[in-house]
Amino acid sequence: MDAPVIEVLPDPVIDQIAAGEVVERPASVVKELVENALDAGARTITVDVEAGGRALIRVADDGVGMAPDDAGRALLRHATSKLRAVDDLWTIGTMGFRGEALPSIASVSRLTLTTRRRDDLAATRIEVEAGRVVDVTEAGAPPGTTVEVRDLLHNVPARLKFLKGEATESSHVTEAVSRLAMTHPHVHFRLRHGGRTVVDCTPAAPVGDVADGIGLERARALLGGRLAERLHAVTGEEGGVRVIALLGAPSLAQSTSRGVQLYVGRRFVRDRGLLHAVTMGFGELVPRGRYPVAIVMVDVDRDGPQRVDVNVHPQKLEVRFSDAGAVQAAVRHVVRRGVAAAPWLGEAAGAAPVQMHAVASMGPPLDAPARPERASDLAGRYARDTTRALFPMGGLARPSQQERLPVPVRAAEGSGPSRWVAEVRARMAARGAAAAEAEATAASGATASAPSGDAGELVAATPAPEFFGRLRYLGQLDRTFLVCEAAGELVLIDQHAAHERVEFQRLRERTTGNDIPVQRLLFPQTLEVTTEQAAVVEDAADVLASVGFEVEPFGGGTVAVKAVPAGLRHEPSGVLRELLADLADHGGSRAVEERFDHVLATVACHSVVRAGDLLSPREAEALLASMDGVDFRAHCPHGRPVLLRMAVSEIARRLGR
């Protein structure tokens, strides 16, 4: 008879496999151990790390500790005090629940567990080597639990090889501790690398009334310096979703999303949907392709309709919401509100004494069309990058009224794409009447707990209806900016941005629904896309057609483009790619309108004056006059400011008059 081919693995092997998922690097060990300490009710947690965690990781807490028998059991797989039944998972209040971390770590290191309950006379010390208990003794120790992990991954050389240098691993450890410290402001965290204190944050008061919120002081302590000073805190609740956000000034925006820290419950998570929601909340203040600095914590009511599944990722880096869209909307709204009320929106930041107002070429969040900014920020935006200026892609921003457009078909519940496809159609059809309606609904949209008044001050900086026509044109600066005089102030206008905005508005008013001219292609152009995006092509062919794209599935991950919007001659595939990605990721309506706008904006771009064009005074005056007809709060796919204002009094002050 043949020997059985399939066998049940021995326990040590199982432990090591589990360790492979949980223990990726020293930082993951630190994370698991600190989470255990938090779950044990620790008020002070001290983490010591040697050689980036390879040589030693010691996590000591002053939590409840364990009885000798419990301590032994804690080292068994799936042994936990935190979970009793599957249903508990939905309401789990502890950081851990699987009972996997300790045995996993023990299986790939030399681990010593020392624990003592406050009322016990002596502590229990258990020594484990590569998963085998080698010694159990009594010892003297303060109340709480201390876990020492030495020689991590010493018996898994393959893993060991993948570890990076000491500095890198150390920084990962610091990051792991910071993330946990961020959402546990009442706990004292200490982290030492080779005896050198890296993190030491004393307990601080959290923001808002949520017991385990984020601490503003804590965040300042962790982020340090420049970043921390410019954080603005906001809290809000929507549909059982509580959101606490600390928002950094737009000038801190980065090219990676690392500046956005997301927490669900008190867990650090990675979630593209939430990241997108935060970015959207910032609107055009942060150009497309850049990310704000923000710390956002989301928590759901245990009794509310929203459910969170935290058991989807071995390191719990991802979670699933029962209605992700609602959570994202809540985050977007709270962030937007926070941005509108943030001090940095109105401040003349310390270093830049000149107060300047920049009116964006589209409405910033919350009907605040005037957006004071630091002079240096503006200078940065006027980088001489004509390509960017010609094809403005910046600003994921959706103006706030867009959000509030009535969506008649919302009730027609469908599943997946078909629902939003219907939504988009309705929106496209409603677009004509949208402007008027948007105004009407704007008031009702500003509901909830938005602190009113903040926006009001800013509105005051909105140009009056005939502002532009009344400007006295003084001349052209650098063939790029129009220099004008208004009552008591100097006004600089970006000629390209302004003309483009005028042209865009004109095209937009003229183009409704389906009449974008379409150029059919001789050879279908094939495009490699993801399967999700290919599904979008099938589900939303007519939505795509309304923007001018005729696309068909071509089998596999390929789609065939048969027609493109006329006028988008050389970049149609890029626009289509972005459109499909947006549709697949964010279920669409916004994406379609944004692309529609992009198509129009690109067309508009071809026919307007550019930076570097010499304008005669009469041309400049004509441009100014036409700008009065433009609603600068209207939708525009592009968020560059159009004008800059400087009060004469400010100039006088600067010149010492």
Binding site: P517, V518, R520, F523, Q525, A563, V603, S607
Partner: protein
């Protein structure tokens, strides 16, 4: 190095060299022209942008042998400005070049000739004599529909097919296509078509301008063109040209014949009321073609043309620029337009023996 050369002779080579030399390259050497003496009475003038290379062997008298490279544009401008019929160029210390003509003395910054990229060797290429005028005409009739979008590099040139007695050129930018066939006896015998890039074709045209006969050779990855003492080497585009035969309609439901000049004029007038994104509408019914366009910003235009048409009435939209450019390359008085539906490609062809067709995809307007 020192040589003496006739100004007109020198300018003949420099004019081509300076148009090939690549001023924008990150390799400064590519903006230069190579001057190197060959024996006692020849001067090699060479320029390259690494895709198109020129080498010309001009008449000159070498006093001492050697070579140098000088900025091609500057040298061309200097030489054309010089008085008299002859000039001498001498290599000075530190790579400078001294140019003397009459009482004029220039000193120009140069670079050593040993750093100049190697120009493809044409001596082994299988040259064949071809009709220069025919070649030029074929290039003219296809060059305009080459795709300028650099991300679609397989369309950035003209497909050239030749079997030794007949040759064919095809180009497309994805919106329209043009195809021309001509007898080209003695031409290269190619087993498969090659794609000649647009810049190369422009330079080939320039060389053909002053030549009555020329020699052509394809030796992958280059196509070589020799006219008198000038040799161009053009690097071919290494890609697959799309299956163009498939998109040229073979049968059609409707067929229209109209005066070519009248149609061009009508389209040009209609174009005044269209824009990059707005096409021109061509509506046909019994015996007549109506060309119309409108632009909410400017106004609208309608024009009726007499046409030979008997099918059912239909209307189709085109980008007028595409049709005008195509019709401009035809020679016949009458042009035929074969159509399927309003979203199917339109086939334009001159009436007569001319083997030339153009396909234009319609616009939905």
């Amino acid at each position: 190095m020192e040589f003496r050369i006739h100004k007109t002779e020198f300018v003949r080579g420099l004019r081509l060299a300076q148009s090939i030399a690549d001023r924008k390259s990150t390799m400064p050497m590519l903006a230069n022209v190579l001057l190197r003496t060959v024996g006692k009475n020849k001067l090699l003038v060479a320029a390259t942008d690494l895709n198109v290379s020129l080498s010309a062997q001009l008449q000159a008298t070498a006093t001492t042998e050697g070579g140098i490279t000088v900025n091609a544009k500057a040298l061309h401008d200097i030489v054309t400005s010089l008085p008299g019929e002859e000039l001498t160029i001498k290599r000075a210390d530190n790579g400078w070049a001294e140019i003397h003509a009459g009482k004029v003395n220039y000193r120009v910054v140069g670079m050593p000739d040993r750093d100049f990229p190697k120009v493809p060797d044409h001596r082994e290429a299988p040259f064949a004599d071809v009709d220069a005028a025919a070649l030029r005409e074929m290039i003219d009739r296809t060059l305009f529909s080459v795709c300028n979008d650099e991300t679609r590099f397989h369309l950035n040139g003209v497909l050239f097919e030749s079997n030794g007695s007949k040759a064919r050129m095809v180009s497309t930018d994805g919106h329209r296509l043009s195809k021309v066939e001509r007898p080209l006896p003695g031409g290269p015998q190619l087993t498969a078509g090659v794609i000649i890039p647009k810049k190369g074709l422009l330079e080939i045209k320039r060389v053909l301008d002053g030549a009555s006969s020329c020699k052509l050779a394809v030796k992958t990855p280059y196509v070589f063109l020799q006219a008198d003492d000038l040799v161009l080497a053009v690097k071919l585009i290494d890609a697959q040209f799309p299956p163009y035969e498939q998109v040229i309609p073979k049968d059609h439901k409707r067929s229209l014949v109209v005066d070519r000049h009248q149609l061009i004029d009508a389209l040009k007038r209609a174009q005044l009321m269209s824009s990059e994104t707005r096409g021109v509408k061509m509506a046909m019914e019994n015996g007549k073609l109506t060309v119309a366009s409108d632009n909410p910003d400017v106004g609208e235009v309608r024009e009726e043309l007499e046409a030979d048409y008997a099918g059912e009435a239909m209307a189709i939209g085109f980008n007028p620029k595409y049709v005008i450019e195509l019709l401009g390359q035809m020679a016949s008085d009458q042009v035929g337009l074969d159509l399927g539906g309003e979203l199917d490609p339109g086939l334009f062809k001159p009436l007569g023996a001319d083997e030339y067709v153009g396909v234009v995809m319609p616009m939905r307007i």
